[in-house]
């Protein structure tokens, strides 16, 4: 079996799969069972300051987006941070950490934006023996209205300030959890970096309304006929999260800043993708909430299997491998010419490629007698839409045109030379535009 041991900020865990701060990590009972099931670490459900516990709604707190066969594609929640007394949580954290010294236990925190509040809670967290803290600057609902969560995460200066307080008052790793509800993720990441954060973790949930009841006209989940926006998570947010992780990973100003990847991780493959884009480990919430703790067993076996096939002895060998391949549009090779090609043996003649191309794209697919579908290379711009809508995997493929051949659409000879927009004659900013 491949060794999945992961070292993140000096915190060792038997695998890179941590449970994200959320209901699965809200109490000792859950966390013990999660560790028994095999999870490498947990980020405890966010704790708030001492005092009267947080109050949650007493009606439904989740909404959902479903795919075929009610497969859960996204959850949306209006839950707040832990609603259990601080002392109870701290005692439980201490007990669990003592019993599971080989697992990562991180404590998520969210207290008001004053140094005093942070100074009050940090020593108590330190006493538990937990491996580190995560600052929840991401929660988009409820707490943000009280000046916490994403209200902090949306202001880089606050992130930097609070991170610095924590680094000054706590001697173990400080992870800053980022909200995706901003326009450019690099600014909050840079602020965390400047404030001395040991790592950033992302993403927290995406502000959303998942659905509207068309009888009551209330957003879901509905509390007595009203709804507020919630935070969306699950498979549907993965692409948003991957991009944000990549943006930070390739930002020169964030160089060397470790990342914990979160957002829609559902299978080992999702995890491997986050890690290839620079995440040192991943955190999971919705997949566990959908399938239970056991789901980690597939993640462990799948990642190990893939690493074995690739010959990776440790997760660190592939972390960040995809980062150099993430670039800007202007640097993409415009001399890379491809054409869609339909494998007639695999084609089941549904005609979806035709409808898509004919109605909405480039009229580059012929429908011939006997429902034979073929690509017209003279019109195909290689947009990929036919492949995306074809129900049969690998039935349509993109074939690169060989150098020296002539693209029948443009009449130009294909070359092996790399050329991008920065030097393109149509680009007013490029040197060759003048003539």
């Amino acid at each position: 079996m491949t060794d999945l041991t992961t070292d993140f900020l000096g915190i060792k865990s038997p695998n890179p799969f941590w449970l994200a701060s959320a209901p699965p990590t809200d109490k000792e009972y859950n966390v013990r069972r999660a560790f028994e099931a095999g999870w490498g670490g947990v980020v405890w459900k966010t704790l708030g300051e001492d005092g009267p516990p947080i109050v949650n709604v007493n009606g439904p707190r989740y909404g959902a987006v479903w795919g075929a066969d009610r497969r859960l594609l996204a959850l949306n929640n209006i839950e707040l941070i832990t609603d259990r007394p601080l002392e109870t949580n701290l005692e439980e954290i201490a007990r669990v950490k003592a019993d599971y010294p080989d697992r990562a236990v991180i404590v998520s925190l969210m207290v008001p934006c004053t140094e005093e509040a942070w100074r009050a809670i940090l020593p108590r967290v330190a006493e538990t023996g937990a491996d580190g803290i995560e600052l929840n600057f991401g929660c988009p609902h409820g707490m943000s209205e009280r000046g916490m969560g994403s209200a902090v995460g949306q202001v880089p200066e606050y992130i930097e300030m609070v991170t610095r307080w924590c680094k000054q008052n706590y001697d173990k790793p400080v992870i800053v959890k980022l909200t995706p509800n901003i326009t450019d993720i690099r600014y909050p990441a840079r602020a965390a970096h400047k404030g001395g954060a040991d790592a950033v973790s992302l993403i927290n949930t995406v502000s959303s309304i998942t659905s509207v009841d068309l009888d009551s006209f209330s957003p879901e989940p509905s509390i007595d006929g009203k709804g507020s926006h919630g935070g969306m998570c699950g498979p549907a947010v993965k692409p948003i999260a991957l991009n944000m992780v990549a943006e930070i990973a390739r930002d020169p100003e964030c160089k060397g800043l470790p990342i914990s990847g979160i957002g829609g991780v559902t299978t080992w493959r999702d995890a491997a993708e986050f890690m290839a884009l620079g995440a040192g480990n991943v955190q999971v919430c919705t997949a566990a909430m959908t399938y239970g703790f056991k789901v980690v067993q597939e993640m462990i076996s799948g990642l190990g299997d893939w690493m074995g096939k690739k010959g990776y002895a440790s997760t660190s060998e592939f972390v960040g491998q995809a980062v150099p391949n993430v670039t800007d549009w202007q640097f993409l090779n415009l001399n890379y010419v491809t054409k869609a090609k339909i494998d007639q043996d695999k084609c089941i003649k549904c005609g979806r490629c035709f409808a898509a191309c004919e109605d909405t794209s480039h009229q580059a697919i012929w429908m011939k007698p006997g429902r034979v579908f073929e690509v017209n290379d003279s019109e195909c711009v290689a947009c990929n839409l036919c492949i995306n809508v074809c129900p049969v995997e690998d039935c349509i493929t993109m074939e690169r045109m060989a150098a020296g051949s002539v693209d029948p659409r443009t009449g130009r000879t294909v070359t092996d030379d790399y050329a991008n927009w920065t030097t393109h004659p149509n680009n007013p900013g490029s040197g060759c535009a003048a003539e």
């Binding site: 075929a68 066969d69 009610r70 089941i348 003649k349 549904c350 005609g351 979806r352 035709f354 409808a355 429908m367 429902r371 129900p391 049969v392």
Partner: protein
């Protein structure tokens, strides 16, 4: 229990009532709402969908399935019913495995088509349970049309004519409307009085009068109808049965399969219906399969289908043949009946191999059901008839102006419920065009 499958002779009550109820439950049970959404999600919404082309009534299948997937079953039903007003019955009886589902691209892809028939049933059942049909009559035209035969062809024709505002009188020789929907279709395909309920729902559009016990040729003539009405549509099916004229055909226990099925369909209580211990069914079509399977389900100990050619030549689809085999029916091929033997009542059937060997075999039989085809009976002599069918051109025009025909009695198309509906509907459009044009 008075009798068992082993009781000799033709007797009733071979099986307990609860067993009978189970045996005659829906062959394709209805989908619940969740199952329907899952099944609907499998449809690819094909461009110029092949399934739609394979449906004789050309229902827009991808559209109605998408309407189910998006939880608007009433819209789905309207899509179905606008092409096929007997969409509910067709969902139950169509041999989908040789029609829409055979050409479904998911059949090509994975040997498992989208369940079009069951989805159609889900939509039409939902609509019928919720209330009236989604159609209403146009303003009255003052024209009237006589329809002969209240089977699927006649009903579809009558409904479409009524929609266009014409007054329709439907004459049927029997005491009940429905044709083979009521008297022919296997009991496990059309359960719970569905055929009758569907007709009540259909004629509720108004402008359709059903007259029972009125046989063309006996109670009225084509000439009379022609003078009294602005147009005539003949949808009289195939009321006669073929005969073989073999020795022993007159013995008690030798009967026509369609009659047996008709009795079964009309029985209030299946445990009062008599069936043989050893039943032999002669034929290889849908009727033979239906008669054999239902005899078996009624409790016959041995049921054998004897068919003169090979399995591939049988008119019954592979699915139907497998259904029979699964229910315990034996299918003998390459044999044809040579005679029936017994003292007053049949006791044995002699079958001759059709391979020219001259060999024969005998099977014990206390009931023989003949399913060797129906034939046209009572068609007006004034019309051109060839190959046992009223010859029609275009949308059901017979050789006589002002007279249309469709369904089993007319040439063209397979003898199927859905084909009868399509032909009745298209003839109605043609009649309408000729009446208002």
């Amino acid at each position: 229990m008075a009798h068992s499958p082993r009781t000799p002779g033709i007797v009733a009550g071979r099986l307990a009532s609860d067993t009978l109820a189970r045996n005659f439950a829906d062959l394709h049970p209805p989908l619940d709402a969740h199952e329907a959404r899952v099944a609907a999600d499998r449809c690819y919404f094909c461009h110029d969908a092949p399934c739609m082309e394979a449906c004789p009534t050309a229902i827009d299948i991808p559209l109605f399935i998408r309407q189910i997937a998006t939880e608007t079953p009433l819209a789905a039903a309207a899509t179905i019913l606008s092409q096929n007003i007997l969409g509910g019955m067709c969902a139950r009886v169509c041999p989908t495995e040789t029609l829409c589902e055979e050409v479904c691209v998911r059949e090509t892809a994975e040997g498992k088509p989208v369940e079009i028939g069951r989805l159609q049933r889900f939509a039409t059942d939902t609509a019928m349970a919720q209330g009236p049909q989604p159609f209403s009559r146009a303003a009255p035209t003052g024209k009237s049309v006589a329809v002969v035969g209240a089977g699927p062809a006649g009903l579809a024709c009558a409904h479409r004519l009524a929609m266009h505002g014409h007054d329709v009188v439907v004459f049927d020789a029997r005491e009940k409307p429905g044709g083979l929907n009521e008297f022919g279709i296997a009991a496990y395909k059309s359960t719970g009085g569905f055929a009758r309920a569907e007709i009540d729902w259909l004629v509720a559009i108004g402008g359709i009068e059903l007259r029972h016990g009125q046989a063309l040729g006996r109670d009225m003539s084509l000439d009379a109808l022609h003078t009294q009405y602005n147009a005539v549509f003949l949808g009289m099916g195939l009321a006669g049965v073929n005969a073989l004229g073999l020795p022993g055909s007159e013995l008690a226990g030798v009967e026509d399969a369609v009659g047996f099925i008709g009795r079964l369909r009309q029985a209030e209580d299946l445990s009062s219906l008599a069936v043989g211990r050893n039943v032999v069914v002669i034929g290889g079509g849908m009727t033979a399969i239906d008669a054999a399977v239902q005899a078996k389900l009624l409790g016959a100990e041995h049921v054998t289908i004897a068919y003169r050619r090979g399995r591939e030549a049988m008119k019954a689809s592979r699915f139907e043949q497998d259904l029979a085999a699964e229910k315990g029916v034996t299918i003998l091929t390459g044999v044809q009946p040579a005679g029936f033997f017994g003292d007053g009542a049949v006791a044995e059937v002699e079958l001759a191999y059709t391979d020219g060997s001259g060999e024969t075999l005998r099977l014990a039989a206390d009931q023989v059901l003949m399913a060797i085809g129906q034939k046209l009976e009572g068609a007006p002599g004034a019309l051109t008839i060839e190959g046992g069918k009223i010859i029609v051109t275009g949308a059901g025009r017979t050789s006589r102006a002002g007279v249309w025909a469709g369904g089993d009695c007319a040439s063209g198309g397979d003898d199927l419920t859905v084909t009868a509906v399509a032909e009745g509907r298209d003839a109605a459009e043609d009649i309408h065009a000729s009446l208002v044009g």
